[in-house]
């Protein structure tokens, strides 16, 4: 006699995930794809347009400008937040009661909702009554983020660094705490300088978490919407109109669903491609 082979009931356990993914990702994405290849004049009437919207978006100066702003913004905050976060993590205590104090302090900005962060910095930076704005102006620096593009950029970047460097710090700290004590002992005995310890032990051992930190910060900052929207509303003029802000303007302001669908898909592909490229390139050595 033969015992019944495999239990097929297990498939039911996967069902909720399949449903969730369908509603969460597949169906919305398909809707966007659907819009991006059609023209609509309302009343639920659609015309097939093929890749027209894609061509139009790729040739539009407006899209190119907001994409450049987006790339510039993301590069600047990555260049600041990653080294700054690592530096803070390296200078944090590793043992003792101060560890938890530091960690809690670090986590505070992460707990504040995006729109509140925007509102906070909005008020904080106002040139007439905000602490930052008033202080800068009284130092003789002409600062007004509502009027002046450079001030606006400065504020948006400062806000993001304030809000998100902590994430890099926490990840880097987790990476640091997983380094066995023996590595430090060995390095001391080998006569390594403090910089050599950072360069040859701590940075290599943090590599994996830093890749994660980089990916998270890249994706989040590339899709940033709420904070600059609340702070500057994309202005002055279009100075801080990043991709997502522009996309919302196209989709909801102008109700151009076709071009908005095309922008969304191009946007999505840029993020996907960059993450994939970055991940494969950095993980190439690890695969062996």
């Amino acid at each position: 006699m033969t015992v019944k082979l495999t239990n097929q009931k297990a498939w039911f356990l996967v069902a909720p995930v399949v449903v969730l993914v369908a509603f969460n990702a597949v169906i919305p994405l398909m809707t966007v794809v659907n819009y991006s290849v059609q023209e609509s004049f309302g009343n639920n009437i659609f015309f097939w347009e093929g890749v027209k919207w894609f061509e139009e978006v790729l040739h539009s100066e407006r899209f190119a400008a907001s994409l450049m702003r987006q790339i510039f913004f993301t590069s600047v905050i990555l260049l600041i937040e990653i080294p700054f976060g690592v530096a803070i993590a390296l200078s944090m205590p590793r043992k003792g009661p101060w560890v938890s104090v530091c960690l809690v302090l670090m986590a505070l900005p992460l707990l504040i909702p995006w729109n509140v962060v925007g509102a906070m910095w909005n008020i904080f930076s106002l040139p007439d009554i905000g602490l930052l704005g008033k202080a800068l102006n009284s130092l003789g620096i002409g600062y007004d983020y509502t009027q002046e593009p450079i001030s606006a950029w400065f504020t948006v970047i400062l806000m993001d660094v304030w809000h998100w460097t902590s994430l890099v710090v926490l990840l880097a700290f987790a990476g640091l705490s997983s380094i066995p004590e023996a590595y430090y002992h060995a390095a001391k005995i080998d006569g390594a300088s403090p910089w050599a310890i950072v360069r040859y032990i701590e940075l290599p051992k943090m590599k994996r978490v830093l890749i994660i930190a980089f990916l998270l910060r890249f994706m989040d900052s590339f899709m940033i919407y709420t904070e600059p929207f609340v702070l500057t509303g994309g202005g002055p003029g279009n100075a801080t109109t990043f991709l997502s802000i522009d996309l919302v303007k196209v989709a909801l302001g102008q109700f151009d669903l076709g071009p908005a669908g095309a922008i969304s898909l191009i946007y999505f592909l840029i993020i996907l491609l960059t993450c994939w490229l970055f991940y494969t390139l950095t993980m190439k050595d690890e695969a062996q």
Binding site: M1, V3, K4
Partner: protein, 355 residues
């Protein structure tokens, strides 16, 4: 309780992990799988447990074909090399866990856990959690969990390998007693020949995914079927060298030869491979037919009460193992004695011809 492999084979891609194997494990006995790392011991255990499915062939248990039956349906317990316990259960709950899954009544659980804990000297520790235990106690807890279930098949995957030397000695002594009269089939995987001998029972020698021999442990040790089985069952490795039989003598080289024993008279005059266990080459002449050889000492190792000496004759390295501590100067020439009465011989196809 019998476990039978019928032409069981396990492949993964182009690699063969286990070659087609026929194996019938004794009723309620203590069985040992002996082989080096990567010889396929763990794969064999996984096939027995049902954690892995054979690529081809059948696994029969108690006259039933259980090939492909999931492990949950097989009343199997397993103990691993790493000490695996539930970290947030105390010792009592750890031991009781298989019974809880079987929905055994609480009174029955208390009784059975108490008796197993008594057997494994865990009674005073039942309230502790695993991280408060020493390595030996943690592994006892894992063993207790395997025992309490009254499984038909108990699989032990090098359970003592991560323990300190003396603890290993102690637990090894207790293990066979624990399973006596329980009627379950025990399979114990180990890479140490000495452990196999100490545990007794039956042994299957495993070499690169093939069972080379199966039988009573002592029998396999004394009469290995072929050179490979002999080498699996030897630590330090068995000395081998080509010899020629000429009439009443075996000739190793121009200067070294020894008389044939009574049982080797019938062998024809030709070339053989002699196998000499390290403890049959000693720095002090034993009783019987001691044949002196001289070599250059390469390495000396002491294991506490024994000496292992590696020396070279010509191009070939030999190993001697003897009781007591015998220091030698490295690089010096020294005399050793081969016990000719205990040499074993293999034919041209490496099959045993005389033990």
């Amino acid at each position: 309780m019998t476990l039978e492999f019928k032409q069981v084979e396990k492949r993964a891609g182009a690699e063969t992990h286990i070659y087609p194997t026929d194996l019938k494990l004794e009723d309620g006995g203590f069985n040992i799988l002996l082989g080096t790392t990567l010889s396929g011991k763990t794969t064999m255990l996984h096939l027995m447990a049902g954690l892995d499915r054979p690529t081809s062939g059948q696994v029969w248990f108690n006259g039933k074909n259980v090939t492909g039956a999931p492990v949950q349906k097989r009343n199997v317990s397993m103990v691993h090399q790493q000490f695996i316990n539930y970290p947030n259960f105390n010792v009592f709950e750890n031991i009781a866990s298989p019974l809880r899954i079987q929905r055994t009544p609480a009174a029955e659980i208390n009784k059975r856990v108490a008796s197993v804990a008594e057997l494994l000297n865990l009674a005073p520790l039942l309230k502790r959690s695993p991280h408060e235990l020493s390595g030996g106690q943690q592994q006892r807890t894992a063993l207790a969990r395997a025992l309490v279930k009254d499984a038909d098949l108990v699989l032990l995957d090098e359970p003592l390998a991560n323990l300190d030397f003396k603890l290993r000695e102690e637990l090894r002594d207790e293990l066979p007693k624990l399973f006596e009269n329980r009627g379950c089939t025990v399979v114990y995987a180990t890479s140490e020949p000495n452990e196999a001998l100490l545990l007794g029972g039956h042994t299957a020698t495993l070499h690169e995914g093939q069972v080379t021999q199966f039988g009573r442990t002592e029998e396999i040790y004394r009469r290995p079927k072929d050179l490979r089985s002999a080498q699996v069952f030897a630590d330090p490795p068995m000395n081998t060298a080509p010899v020629a039989k000429r009439g009443d003598t075996f000739v190793l080289n121009e200067t070294v030869n020894w008389p044939t024993m009574e049982r080797q008279r019938t062998l024809s005059d030709s070339a053989y491979t002699v196998g000499i266990r390290p403890h049959h080459i000693t720095p002090v002449a034993g009783r019987g037919h001691a044949v002196p050889v001289e070599g250059e000492v390469l390495i000396t190792e002491f294991s506490g009460s024994e000496s292992v000496i590696h020396f070279r004759i010509g191009e070939r390295t030999w190993v001697s193992q003897s009781q007591g501590i015998h220091p030698f100067e490295i690089g010096s020439r020294a005399q050793f004695f081969i016990d000719a009465a205990n040499c074993i011989y293999f034919g041209p196809d490496n099959e045993l011809v005389s033990a």
